[in-house]
Symmetry: none
Subunit: 531 residues, 2 copies
Amino acid sequence: MAYVYLLDTTLRDGTQGEGVSLTVADKLKIAQKLDDLGVAYIEGGFPGANPKDQDFFRTANDRLHLKHAKLTAFGSTRRPSTKAEDDAGLQTLLGANTPAVAIVGKAWDFHVTEALRIDLGQNLDMIRDTVRYLKRHGREVIFDAEHFFDGFKHNRAYALATLQAAEEAGVDWVALCDTNGGSLPDEIREIVATVVSEVRVQVGIHTHNDGELAVANTLAAVQAGARMVHGTINGIGERCGNANLASIIPNLELKLGYSCLPSRQHLRQLTSTARFVGEVANLVSHSYQPFVGHSAFAHKGGIHVSAIARNSETYEHIQPELVGNERRVLISELSGLSNVQSQAEAFGISVVGRSDDLRTLLEKIKELEYLGYQFEGAEASQELLFRRTLGEFQQPFEVFSVRVDTDVQSEADVTSQAIVKLGVGGEIVHTVCEGNGPVNALDAVLRKALAAHRPEIAHMHLTDYKVRVLDEKDATAAKVRVLIESTDGQRVWRTIGVSENVVEASWEALVDSMNYYLAIVVPQRELVSST
Amino acid sequence: MAYVYLLDTTLRDGTQGEGVSLTVADKLKIAQKLDDLGVAYIEGGFPGANPKDQDFFRTANDRLHLKHAKLTAFGSTRRPSTKAEDDAGLQTLLGANTPAVAIVGKAWDFHVTEALRIDLGQNLDMIRDTVRYLKRHGREVIFDAEHFFDGFKHNRAYALATLQAAEEAGVDWVALCDTNGGSLPDEIREIVATVVSEVRVQVGIHTHNDGELAVANTLAAVQAGARMVHGTINGIGERCGNANLASIIPNLELKLGYSCLPSRQHLRQLTSTARFVGEVANLVSHSYQPFVGHSAFAHKGGIHVSAIARNSETYEHIQPELVGNERRVLISELSGLSNVQSQAEAFGISVVGRSDDLRTLLEKIKELEYLGYQFEGAEASQELLFRRTLGEFQQPFEVFSVRVDTDVQSEADVTSQAIVKLGVGGEIVHTVCEGNGPVNALDAVLRKALAAHRPEIAHMHLTDYKVRVLDEKDATAAKVRVLIESTDGQRVWRTIGVSENVVEASWEALVDSMNYYLAIVVPQRELVSST
């Protein structure tokens, strides 16, 4: 079975997508997830153009321990008038200290003479020098031939000459880019086949989705002999996006008989990876996205259900479990119950002989998920839900009322004030606090109210706060989901709140976080320190 | 130039999409818009299965005056044990009184014996009788061969026999359905070519997007000889959706040399049609959707901009005007004076001899971007910033103070109340309103305050609300960025707000949206209607 190398460029080309903006911490989280999925190369950024990407590579080299992927930095060929060793961009590229580098260069004659305003031979020299220089520094080198397909159509000999220049200099891969994203599968297939017969190095494909054909174009290129595929998770990227790896991977693995992940087990992480990236990039993933979408294997009752019970092939093109997704009408209560049971046991709750309670819990989970809760990213809230429903929880404090006021007098003069009344340690505490926003004020007032009876609250703090609008078409009347991450310096836990009111959703997640800390983290820590 | 007949099934198969629900009035509006675009057939519904669709056809026959399209009703072959003339479904289908009908029948032997539990010959009789009966009643008949491609792979002779049965009975079209949506372009091409050589009637193609290949599969079928294409606007439909006509049409017209609309002038309505359907179906259209998306021709600064100024082909696969979309130059931190200048001119602001003002503006943009603003997704706020800074803006109202209170008494009892004091039309308005969240309350109170002096505010509404936490590590004290999308049913505009206080950031984006509508959209609309 032929192997196809995946180069994921979510962290580089993906961030060119409108509205995509990732912090260094976001990028590290995504890189780890991509390595877990098993991609061969992670293109992490363009350090020569973006100081944030320099930070990313520095931190990644220290902190990430990649099992499968080679970290790859992106840059461009040297400038026309400098030597490679004097080119600032190439120095920064080497400074990223990655095992592999990708460099983009011109392959369309028109762009050489018009955009760079140099002659065609000079561009070939730039490609040759750059590749040679990077190879001398021990890097695996991928040459991204920009506008290759358009270039080939205008001046075939010159487009091929750019690849040959890279090849002469010892390049490891030439990646053919459909930069404008408008090529058709037949053209791609024919041109890739020509390239494969004309060069000796391995060939890659890099497509964009401007014609809604990026996946088809990529598959056509692989069938014509390309062995490296560039793409992004969920297809995010400039204009209409890059080729979508979340669709390309299963098409290659399950339909065309290629291998591109370490094992079939890895393929099962596809759906969770796609959703994780959507969540971190704060881009709504489309429920009808092929393979990984929430609706991708949703069957509307009727005859479909019984037909599927007999033979799922009758109404499904693949088995959803293969990509870690699930069929939606057929979630059997039995398999659901066994999941809930094993989860309860993982929390240390004994459930022997309590199948009625488990059934109640399962109903409750389904209801909450229907309302927009997603416990995958909020295990602390999940544990609280299990403990409350199964009667294994003692509430450390009780909330009677909360109120937040925000005054905007002018842009420079905005204050929020929170007032809370709660019961803790047998007393009623009524207190007030300011913050630079309503949620910050709620956090502050809750700590203040708890401080006298539960001074240990000072040892925990919030480290992350995310807001996600559900059903965006309802605009300001839509539900929001708030995720909060907290830590006491040792453990990290996450909680969730869902409401049409962002203040209430935040409050719910905040209260859960403090409950979890006081009722679960603190007693376990005391247990550890007393033994 | 070969003509390809478009059958739009947005109103039938499209409504199978999760979350899609259209009233009769919605369907009428969409049908009119599809006829304006110039599709050949509008499949309006399944009257035998859905009484709402019976209403639709009744009303459509009375009220719609279609210039290009034939209204088409959908049904299925007669039941196994009845005669066609006694079959209730077929009576309802004829009762829709449409010039054309589409009937679905089984083409996969397995489904005949397993789902229908009849023998293979009986199914052929059902197809033959049904087509003959509908032809006798003067209808143009399209036979939708369900699961045709899977059926062909399992039992080629039988799949072809179903088409031949329809042909013998006088069918006008056989449409080959990739019901499970998992076929690959090569398979489709080969099978369609075989069918075209084996039957004498014209062939159509009906694909689904489960492999993210529906557009490619459709194009492959047309290249193999199919002359009717089934699809939906924006690709809405069950599971992962149907083939997306908004991408298929320009690929056929502009790239493959087929004709499928009455004229190139009609093609220019593609973008507005796609956005209209998204709006009426209440499905957020994706900004990066190929051809018709808001980001489809958005360029980020630097060398791209100057290259495009010289020759747009260098970074665009087609000219955006051909499909009624537009080029957008994204102003970002990297951009220079020339970007700002060309942007100002695009807004219709004369900047000749004002390079000092432009420099001030550029400084301001950079400062705001440093603070977390991102104008690439918020052109309306960008235009307001340009106009304010260049002295080309008259504020329609002035805000003196705003206050929002949120009370959480219990999970079920949460209210937000907003109080605003503003100046409009020479008066001071002081008013209060409730909402199901602080932002919803702000939206409501602002409309209420403006209603007396600017009643046109009722014609715009918010369609999307997004919150992004910047610097997430600061948790609840972090800055947030709010993006709001609004529409008056024709134009769509986006605004932005950034603050450490989510209420203030939302308020800023809301006020910008209403300012933009009142000061820019309304006067332009009046200009158009008075000429």
